[in-house]
Symmetry: C2
Subunit: 412 residues, 2 copies
């Protein structure tokens, strides 16, 4: 049975989600895109039509919506008869949109954890602060809610579960590595909204080590890996969503997340941060003007959406899993490589938006097909991840595995 989709958000990831839903509207039905600025939704609608992404005839409409307004969101779900809501808006709206889904019975999918605008890096596990408080309500209302089903979190959670379930007797370490080896050609730019981007790096870094939460500072712990296709890259231990569910759902004592940064990025970040230019607190100039430094820095940086047309190179994101199999030490790397220029050619966004936007569409298809229509709240690793990996192989994000037997496509 077809299920209509309501996409909330109108940024680079929403653009990918819309194109991918359109490519599969024989399964997904009508597509509606809503955000505060209806013009941005309309631009995505126009882009989908221009590229001829709709597989079959079907509705494709833009809507204005303040997604913090639960009643307005419920009304739009009802009016558009949407059974699937893909939330790729700001991380501040998750709980409102989830509530609207619970009250209307629509399935809920998102790609990043809920955030309170006034708080950075709350107490772990982060999901317990907001989303998981609605688990019982979802189950009572038979609402399917799949949390964090982008690439990271999302696909990397599936890689972790598959590693644990298929390749080991026991797993000691999961290291999730996210490397963007692409080039945007500017002196410095962030790949998404600088305000959100820098929030990830100005607080504490939580990791799961020896089965407990450990705190570090950003750029304190570094590793260097020689990775498939992209080669040798350094990455830094970073706080990230997926650790906060994997640590609960998998019996693995060490789970860490590593984000790749070049020396140049770190240097610019360090200078700006040290001078107080990444602060969200307003300062006053000698002339008496009140300014938030971070907002001015954002204004001088390139608009992330403007980077896509000239973005070249590839991303490599995956899980290094270590443990025991038949009494012996074993290590595997499950990963995907995506190409910025190919992503832009297909859906008009760069590779980072592409890797984040394709997985929730795969999840939506699996719900529509009844495979993942679990009628409760889950994180990705709690689901059967094999059909997810197989479907991603078909729709643009192939998974590979590298181990003692070589480097090959992973499918089931």
């Amino acid at each position: 049975m077809k299920r209509n989709v309501l996409i909330i958000g109108a940024g680079g990831v929403a653009q990918v989600v819309a194109h991918k839903c359109a490519q599969h509207n024989d399964v997904l039905g009508n597509i509606h895109i809503a955000s505060r600025t209806v013009e941005k939704c309309q631009e995505i609608v126009d882009s989908v039509r221009e590229k001829g992404s709709l597989k079959t005839a079907g509705e494709l409409q833009a809507h204005a919506l303040d997604a913090l307004d639960i009643e307005a969101t419920k009304a739009l779900i009802a009016k558009t008869q949407s059974q699937l809501v893909i939330n790729v808006g700001s991380p501040f709206i998750n709980m409102s949109v989830l509530q609207a889904c619970i009250e209307t019975g629509a399935a809920y999918l998102d790609t990043a954890i809920h955030e309170d605008p006034d708080k950075i890096c709350e107490t772990p596990p982060w999901y317990a602060n907001y989303e998981w408080k609605r688990r019982e309500l979802c189950a009572e209302n038979k609402v399917t809610a799949i949390l964090g089903v982008g690439f990271d979190p999302g696909v990397v959670n599936a890689y972790a579960a598959i590693g644990v379930n298929e390749y080991f007797d026991s797993v000691s370490d999961i290291d999730i590595i996210d490397i963007n080896a692409g080039s945007h050609g500017h002196y410095f730019a962030t790949n998404f909204d600088p305000e959100i981007n820098f929030r990830e790096f100005t607080g504490r870094v939580w990791s799961w080590q020896n089965s407990q939460w450990v705190q570090n500072k950003m750029f304190e712990v570094k590793r260097t890996d020689d990775l498939p296709v992209v080669g040798q890259h350094s990455s830094y231990m970073t706080g990230h969503d997926e650790l906060h569910s994997l640590s609960k759902n998998l019996d693995v004592p060490n789970i860490r997340f590593w984000m790749g940064f070049g020396d140049h990025y770190i240097n610019v970040f360090t200078v700006l941060n040290s001078l107080g230019l990444l602060s969200e607190q307003p300062i006053t100039t000698a002339e008496g003007l009140e300014v938030v430094p971070l907002k001015m820095v954002k204004a001088v940086l390139p608009d992330p959406a403007s980077l896509a047309p000239k973005y070249t190179g590839k991303t490599c994101i995956g899980d290094i899993v270590k443990g025991k199999k038949d009494g012996k030490d074993k290590e595997i790397f499950i990963y995907n490589v995506a190409d910025h220029a190919e992503a832009y050619e297909e859906v008009g966004s760069q590779g980072i938006s592409y890797t984040a936007g394709v997985p929730p569409v795969a999840a939506a298809i699996l719900i529509a097909q009844g495979v993942w229509d679990v009628q409760k709240m889950v994180n990705v690793e709690e689901l059967d991840c094999k059909p997810f990996i197989n479907l991603l192989n078909e729709i643009g994000l192939p998974t590979r595995i590298k181990d003692a037997d070589g480097d090959r496509l992973l499918s089931f």
Copy 2:
């Protein structure tokens, strides 16, 4: 005969000038301090009284003055019966203050070249664009005007003239080196107003080489010297006032200025400059607020005046002079070393303000004594520099010379 002094400006250099004038008010007479913000002048007056710097009883008063208003400046000169005007205000007021001196007959002294707020790095020689256009008028009115009589320009011009006149048959190279080996203890700070400080480095670098003007970019040409007291330091070819008079007044084919910068300073400067954060052109934030980036950077940086109490270490500024004497190659280094903490202890300012503020007081004393009362406009190298060096030895800025015969105090 005593000559009353009007000090224009109320920054760190004005603070030094006021203290030094007070220490010599048996020669200099009454002291008046004027700037737009009378409170800042009053703070200096209070500081002079607190430290008991006045040598003999005498007037010491603060005044409010817009020094761009020539009539107001003339009126204040008349009212205070000042015969000496020491202009250590912003570089934008030189021509107005000079005009007021010409019309009242007061002697004029400054420590930096005139600047037009809308222009950076004009055509050389810079003095010809503004100051030198009044040479004839000064001579006609028998007005003594000594241009650029701080440390650099100023004392280093005297060093150049003494090198040429006393130690060589012919001079091929004068390299003026300015090293601040002090530490203010902050991640980053400028030693004077960031808006003025960064202006020096964002334009072209003019130097005098093979008897003609040569252009470079900032941080393009580097040298490293092992200097007395402060040790090994790197410096970069920088555009600076003194080249624009020395090139005319001395028969020396190569005259260059080198400013010392640490790698950290250059890195922070490069990041800010590359991102557009040092721009004087307003930008608009996503929220519609119009902001001049440089003014916001200034607001997050430490107030230069706040650095003095904790400043430690020393400055070393001097001239490396190379040429021929009795048919042989010869090289000398004439220099001063100043100490930040000692300067603060004596006059409540750090060493950079101290080196800039003591020389114009020495010049004022020499005018009052009749030694430098030349009744025309001159740059320092056109005067007899020996009494200037001797006086500076006595009042806080001793000159040393280092050559084949060793390293010793220089006096005449």
